[in-house]
């Protein structure tokens, strides 16, 4: 027995050594998604592509939970201590920048796109062969062709997004590094800052390739993209129009005073104008939709819509919860803290709306540019079944608890008649590109390249700078009271852009590229202080100061994050 025990113990010891040396450490990876899985499975490839779409801007929550409007002269965020405060106070810097889609984020998204391009490159990826199996049976040929089509479209998307993300980076930081493929740590550390010319060339080359390929795409078997549009179930994906619109915007930015020592570059302006003309010449977009409807119409029939962020903006009511005035009927206001995140439109913006014939200072909200009424809720207006009282001491009075800071409430993108808190949801759009912006880009680019001349860029009826601007202002008669402009200069163009594109995330960047931020962002933000007199009349004070604004030289660009500069000691920082 003793011998048996000793044998057993010895055997146990050897068993232990054998087990521990062989497969004990065979790691259980069943919850983990590894490269083998992803490279050889259509579902994962699809997932690597679709994830890129999250990088489109969501302007309803651009700076913390506020719109970018509250970080420039369009509005005041009513949330004390909100992220926008840093921009308004000038207290942002390289350590702390409240802008959400920042350096880190954008390069992450660029990496996602580059990674997708690397994985989906059928010429280089030898393992990537599952779809060849589709050809094995005739039944699968449809699937094969669809996949070939998808793969081409997806790779075009990835290149579009690279252009889109590099543009955003360059718009924010100016001095950026171009990352055109996946990098090792060593390669990343060796990156150099690109000049503006290099960035412009890089983005236009990327986009030119994509634009050309959209025409090829339409010719492919099983194509569900045709005539410049996706089938309605794929509405929201990148189109040729979107690629052109990005190129147009990028060229206009490149042509602008900020990037050319204070004045426009005529040649870049001409390129921007011709790119805008290409979109106009496509003939599939127009401005014949009311200014009110274009804020909410998510259908394929919306002729303004070139690209909107569809994925991240489902039907919702947070804009209503944040922005509804108190005075509405009970079903619209049954939320404590209603309007606590209100975006209060500024007097600075209201001043930009044209005063039409019949206007009088005694009631400054009558006879204004038609778009005013689709953008701003003002004292005395009927909204949600009640009269808004934003005069001092009124139900929606200025500076009351959870109330406006400026005397105005936001109308744009805020749907009327949404039952709160649990009832209905409203559709709305966040435009990445819409047709009127293209017209305004055309107008600004044409004017600064060719004055008000006709250059024959437009098929059919040619447009000069003034014609394009008036198309936006009059909207084919849908803005019935507006009066056409008769003369044009950069002030007219900029005013038109400020009005038309209010709250759409343009102003913050426009004042920078025009180099007027040192004035517009360096003066107090004003509101309309309305006093109800004892005789029932109201007095209007449009000089009421809501808050100070600070803009220092150099703030046209964001400083590169402090920690990143620490990794690139040889780089040039914009400012501290």
């Amino acid at each position: 027995m003793k011998k048996n025990i000793s044998k057993a113990l010895t055997a146990l010891l050897f068993a232990f050594l054998a087990v521990s040396c062989s497969d004990f450490f065979d790691v259980d990876q069943k919850e983990l998604i590894g490269p083998d899985l992803v490279n050889n499975n259509e579902e994962y490839i699809t997932g690597l592509w679709s994830v890129m779409y999250w990088c489109l801007d969501n302007g309803f929550r651009e700076v913390g939970e506020t719109m970018l409007a509250s970080s420039c002269d369009e509005a005041q965020s009513n949330v004390r201590g909100s992220a926008a405060t840093a921009f308004n106070q000038g207290s942002w810097n390289s350590y702390s920048n409240p802008y959400g889609r920042n350096w880190e984020y954008l390069y992450q998204q660029i990496e996602n796109a580059n990674h997708f391009l690397a994985v989906s490159d059928t010429t280089k990826n030898r393992d990537f062969n599952f779809f060849h199996d589709y050809k094995s049976t005739p039944d699968n040929m449809y699937r094969y062709n669809t996949f070939l089509f998808n793969l081409k479209a997806w790779r075009m998307d990835a290149r579009f997004f690279k252009a889109y993300l590099h543009f955003q980076l360059w718009r924010q930081y100016g001095r950026i590094a171009i990352v055109d493929r996946e990098l090792s740590q060593k390669e990343a550390q060796a990156l150099k800052q690109a000049t503006t010319a290099e960035v412009v060339d890089y983005i236009s080359d990327l986009l030119d390739g994509v634009i050309a390929e959209f025409d090829q795409l339409e010719q492919m078997p099983n194509a569900y993209y045709g005539g410049g549009r996706w089938t309605s179930s794929d509405l929201g994906r990148i189109t040729k129009g979107a690629a052109l619109a990005l190129k147009c915007r990028m060229l206009l930015y490149a042509a602008s005073p900020l990037n050319n020592g204070g004045s426009y570059d005529a040649e870049l302006c001409d390129r921007a104008a011709r790119t805008a003309a290409e979109i106009i010449n496509m003939g599939i977009y127009n401005e014949y939709i009311s200014y009110e409807n274009l804020q909410f119409d998510r259908s394929a029939a919306n002729p303004e819509n070139i690209l909107d962020n569809r994925a991240d903006i489902p039907d919702s009511n947070y804009m209503e919860v944040w922005n509804y005035p108190h005075s509405g009927l009970a079903e619209f206001t049954n939320v404590d803290g209603l309007g606590s995140n209100v975006t209060s439109p500024s007097q600075n913006l209201v001043d930009a709306y044209a005063k039409l014939p019949g206007y009088t200072d005694a009631f400054p909200f009558g006879a204004r540019d038609d778009r005013f009424y689709s953008t701003i809720i003002y004292d005395g207006r009927t909204f949600n079944g009640a009269t808004v009282e934003s005069y001092a001491g009124g139900a929606d009075g200025i500076n009351e608890r959870y109330s406006t800071a400026t005397g105005y409430y936001l109308k744009k993108f805020v749907a009327e008649g949404v039952t709160l808190p649990v009832g209905t949801l409203a559709s709305r759009l966040w435009y990445i590109f819409r047709y009127s912006e293209v017209l305004l880009n055309y107008s600004e680019a044409m004017y600064n390249a060719h004055g008000n001349a006709y250059k024959g860029y437009i098929n059919g009826t040619d447009l000069n700078a003034l014609d394009a601007l008036n198309k936006v202002r009059l909207r084919g008669g849908l803005n019935p009271n507006n009066v056409a402009a008769t003369s044009i200069d950069n002030d007219v163009i900029r005013n038109e852009r400020q009005v038309e594109l209010a709250f759409e995330g343009h102003r913050f960047w426009d004042v920078r590229r025009w180099m007027i931020a040192a004035q517009t962002e360096n003066q107090p933000l004003r509101g309309m202080y309305i006093t109800l007199n004892s005789d029932g009349t109201k007095s209007y004070d449009p000089h009421y100061v809501v808050g100070s604004r600070t803009f220092r030289a150099g703030m046209e660009h964001f400083p590169i994050p402090y920690d990143e500069m620490h990794r690139y000691p040889q780089w040039t920082q914009n400012w501290w």
Binding site: K2, I5, S6, V51, Y107, A188, L191, L235, Y568
Partner: protein, 954 residues
């Protein structure tokens, strides 16, 4: 013999215990080791016993590593609801922090301070195996040892760098059956309940905050505020709820009881322990339903250990332990109830309306009464089953001194949640002016009890063979031991199982000469699955030596020096336990392989009806194939001795240097696209040094025995490298490089703006947001007239204390004994925020903070910035205003006992008995932090308890 010990649940268990007591026969009391000694004989008995060390036992003299031991009898001087709490202050170098007083709450154990900036959790073993230790009963523990240096821990290799705690359970003692029965009944009380504003104070101060914000007042000072707390109908129109007073009972009962049986002969020895813990928490009004919604814990531990020597050379040891841990909670998690009690304004709503319904509003539906009694209940049953087997055989026939042992253990834990949860509805009064005839508006809707269940399980399999060979010749003595270890830990939460594997081999070579000189070499070669093949296994060596000077001829008969020993060690141990890794989850634990992570998929189409993929994917954390375990280089020097028959002293000095600490890899430029998923790198380095010193003065005078003891532990760390921080060159390097690990940073408050004009026109611009009168002014260290992140400086200390000290007295006169122990910490800081800053999280506020906040009438005494109803970003920055010292002193235990034995007792079989009263954690002195318990910082603070106990020995 009927003793009513426990109020409602006399329980089958106690009856069974009495039955067992009655049946058993008379024997002598077994000798128990106890750290408390009154004479050198007591010390000698401690030193002559062998000591549990890594993979075996050694004589006290032969121990060359640094370790401390406390025995079960010392733990029983405290009545705690969780065994690790009884360790506080008992083992120099081990810091025990109670996290909360809730039943079943855990403690945090740290050995020798910050050896790393990652988890400092030590490796904890029960009878040599990794298993669950928190649910052990006080009665089943023979001893607890802390292994502190490399020599003592090297055989645990890759898991040893944070130190090791060995828990040994009671084993059988040869002799006739001996029975010891203990029962302790106590009442618990919170060490500190938060002092919050009452309704009138709340209204007054909230008005002040509104005024500061330039907003209209909410509470009318003349007609409204005085009505709060008036009673009568004002209870409904002007409620004044003291949630803590109303919903927490002042006293809650607890009971610990245990029976221990031991005995055996030359062939077999056995020990069995059965124990019970009853712990009822402090909620009031938890018995309004036909089921209990009280938070309470009932735990039964059963453990048997059997040692068998079947024939010469063969030995087997079997241990089996079962724990049933039954916990009951209200349907809403207790932490949420406490949060509600903390965050509700005292006048938010009446707790009950005139018609008896729960009060509430559309916004505030979290009525604490509803949460306690109207939300159903949750009940969990946790079952631990531990079985271990150890068989050994001496191969004396083949080679004298050769023996082999194989040990295996299976530890399983399964927790079954059985929840019956419901929603409750609250009502607001529509017409406060007419309470009798008012209608009510309902908010929320009541649901039926909904049954839900959940299972969580862990299992761990361990296997450890050892071979040893011992020889002595002349004055020489040598022992070689080779061991192997492997364990697989499988976690199963909601059916996603995953493993953690750990394996290694080790060897120890011990040599001694003449009982005076001891030398030891140890090595461990360990690996874990978190590392790529090639990086997986690392070698950990250590050397150590000891010199028992008192065994030298010149001291052997000395009356001055009874015992004197010096020892020193140096070695490398690893800190590689994957379970302690930052960011370790089921899908992110293998940092050497590149994986993908899942994201939601976007949708398209006119109505967003088209979803192209079931999920989106993107690359996960960047793989680093070079990841390996970090290493700690440890040095220790110790000296201990007994002098002049009255003094016992021990001192240990240590240094450690931890390199390759796993840290997120911030050296990668963000341009690479991996910000936030940059993976990990072995790049950190922390140095640490310190000492432990303990002293005991003891003696006897006739029937009087005394022992006075104290200890001090000190550790100070230095962060040498941390790859995820960027040096920020202000006045201090805010990255913390060169400073102790966990150093607090913040702005130095130099005052508060006198007026809005002063704030507006200040020369120094503070860049956090608008400032006004009463806002904090920070010191501009850089002198650039801007306050930004570069003006942050090191403030106070780290979280873990730099000093820990204990003092204690044990006195004995004839049959009466007194034992008192106190423990404290010094140089420890915490930066508070959140609901400590009044009103900003929409809740109630601490009286002390509010009263010391700046106001126009309270400029001189202000310590905190002005009140506001929303977060003032300028004021909520980390700053000296919100930095608090955590230093405290706690009286951990006071025990008075009386031992007795008389003839009548002996007739019914009792040999001796002891009655005692004890207080546990009964007094706390905080240096600065008075709003919360400074140890736990929890709004559910640790409990103090007062107990009576009875011990019977048969």
């Amino acid at each position: 013999m009927r003793i009513k010990i426990y109020d409602k649940r006399p329980s089958y268990l106690f009856k069974a215990f009495l039955l067992v007591v009655a049946v058993l026969s008379v024997t002598a009391l077994q000798a128990q080791l106890e750290s408390t000694v009154f004479d050198t004989a007591g010390l000698d008995s401690l030193r002559s016993a062998t000591v549990e060390v890594a993979y075996g036992r050694q004589s006290y003299d032969a121990v060359t590593g640094s370790m401390e031991t406390v025995y079960g009898a010392d733990l029983l001087k405290r009545n705690t609801t969780s065994f690790p709490r009884a360790l506080a202050g008992q083992l120099p170098g081990l810091h025990v922090r109670n996290l909360s007083g809730m039943p079943g709450a855990d403690v945090e154990l740290t050995i020798r301070g910050y050896g790393t900036y990652n988890s400092t959790m030590p490796l904890i073993l029960v009878d040599g195996f990794r298993t669950d230790y928190e649910h052990l009963s006080l009665y089943e523990i023979e001893s607890v040892s802390v292994l502190k240096d490399a020599a003592a821990t090297v055989l645990y290799g890759m898991e040893a760098a944070n130190g090791v705690i060995l828990i040994t359970t009671k084993r059988g003692v040869k002799g006739p059956l001996a029975v010891q029965a203990n029962v302790q009944y106590g009442v618990q009380q919170m060490t500190k309940t938060p002092k919050l504003l009452n309704a009138a104070q709340y209204a007054t101060y909230y008005n002040q905050a509104l005024q500061n914000d330039g907003l209209p007042l909410l509470y009318e000072p003349v007609n409204d505020i005085p009505n709060y707390g008036k009673g009568g109908d004002y209870r409904y129109t002007h409620p004044d709820n003291d949630y803590f007073g109303e919903f927490l009972r002042n006293l809650s009962p607890m009971m610990n009881a245990g029976v221990n049986l031991t005995g055996g002969n030359d062939i077999a020895q056995y020990n069995a322990t059965v124990s019970y813990l009853g712990n009822s928490a402090a909620f009031a009004r938890a018995h309004l339903n036909d089921y209990s919604t009280q938070m309470r814990q009932d735990r039964v531990n059963i453990r048997t250990n059997l040692d068998v020597n079947l024939f010469r050379g063969f030995r087997a040891a079997v241990g089996a332990a079962v724990t049933f841990d039954n916990n009951n909670y209200p349907g809403v998690a207790p932490s949420s109830i406490l949060d509600a009690m903390m965050s509700l304004a005292p006048q938010a709503f009446p707790i009950t309306n005139p018609d008896g319904s729960y009060g509430g509003t559309s916004v505030y539906r979290n009525n604490p009464l509803g949460m306690i009694s109207g939300s159903g209940y949750q009940s969990s049953l946790r079952r631990n089953v531990d079985v271990n087997l150890r068989i050994g055989y001496d191969f004396d026939g083949i080679l004298e001194g050769l023996s082999m042992e194989a040990a295996g253990a299976i530890a399983t834990t399964m927790t079954i949640w059985d929840n019956k949860v419901k929603q409750f509805e609250v009502y607001s009064i529509d017409d406060p002016a007419n309470l009798a005839g008012t209608t009510y508006t309902r908010h929320g809707s009541e649901t039926d009890l909904a049954w839900a269940t959940d299972v969580l399980s862990y299992k761990r399999f361990s296997f450890e063979p050892t071979v040893s060979y011992a020889r002595s010749w002349d004055e020489h003595s040598m022992k070689v031991m080779v061991m192997g270890h492997m364990d697989r830990y499988t976690q199963n939460i909601n059916s996603i199982p995953y493993n953690f594997d750990n394996a290694g081999v080790g060897a120890r070579l011990a040599y001694s000469y003449d009982g005076k000189y001891f030398g030891e070499f140890g090595a461990g070669y360990y690996g874990q699955e978190q590392y790529r093949k090639g990086n997986r296994f690392l070698l950990y060596p250590s050397v150590s030596a000891g010199w028992v000077i008192s065994n030298e001829d010149f001291l052997v008969n000395s009356t001055t020096v009874q015992y004197l020993k010096m020892r020193s060690s140096y070695g490398i141990v690893g800190g590689g336990s994957g379970l302690l890794y930052p960011g370790n989850t089921s899908t992110s634990r293998l940092f050497y392989n590149q994986y993908y992570q899942k994201a939601g998929s976007p949708t398209w189409g006119e109505n967003n009806s088209y979803n192209p993929a079931t999920a989106s994917y993107l690359l996960g954390a960047l793989a680093n194939p070079d990841i390996t375990a970090d290493k700690s280089f440890k040095f220790n020097f110790g000296i201990e001795g007994t002098f002049l028959d009255h003094v016992d002293a021990k001192a240990d000095f240590f240094t450690s240097r931890r390199i390759g600490i796993l840290t997120s890899n911030q050296s990668i430029p963000h341009t690479m696209g991996f910000a936030g998923r940059s993976g990990y790198v072995n790049g950190g380095e922390v140095k640490n040094h310190g000492y432990e010193f303990s002293l005991r003065y003891f003696g006897t005078a006739g029937d009087f025995g005394y022992s006075i003891h104290g200890s001090v532990s000190y550790s100070k760390s230095k962060l040498v490298k941390k790859p995820d921080v960027v040096p920020l060159h202000g006045v201090d390097n805010r990255s913390g490089i060169g400073m102790p690990v966990g150093q607090n940073f913040g702005y130095r408050v130099v005052g508060f703006y006198e007026s809005d004009e002063a704030a507006m026109n200040a020369k120094v611009v503070q860049t956090f947001g608008p400032v006004q009168a009463g806002d904090a002014i920070y010191r501009d260290y850089t002198g650039d007239d801007f306050i930004d992140i570069s003006d942050m400086v090191a403030l106070g200390y780290s979280f873990l204390p730099r000093y820990e000290y204990t003092v204690g007295v044990d006195l004995k006169y004839k049959n009466i004994s007194l034992s008192v122990t106190g423990q404290g910490i010094a140089k420890s800081s915490i930066m508070l925020g959140g609901n400590v800053i009044p009103f900003t999280t929409q809740g109630n506020a601490f009286v002390e903070i509010v009263e010391k906040s700046w106001s126009p009438d309270n400029k001189a005494r202000a310590r905190y910035p002005r009140l506001s109803t929303a977060e003032v970003v300028n004021n909520s920055q980390s700053s000296s205003a919100w930095l608090f010292s955590r230093d405290y002193f706690k009286l951990r235990n006071v025990e008075v006992g009386y031992d007795f034995s008389f003839d009548a007792m002996r007739k019914i079989g009792l040999s001796s008995a002891r009655v005692y009263i004890m207080g546990t954690d009964i007094f706390t002195h905080a240096k600065e932090l008075n709003i919360l318990d400074p140890e736990s910082l929890s709004i559910y603070p640790p409990m103090k308890s007062y107990s009576i106990g009875l011990q019977l020995n048969f």
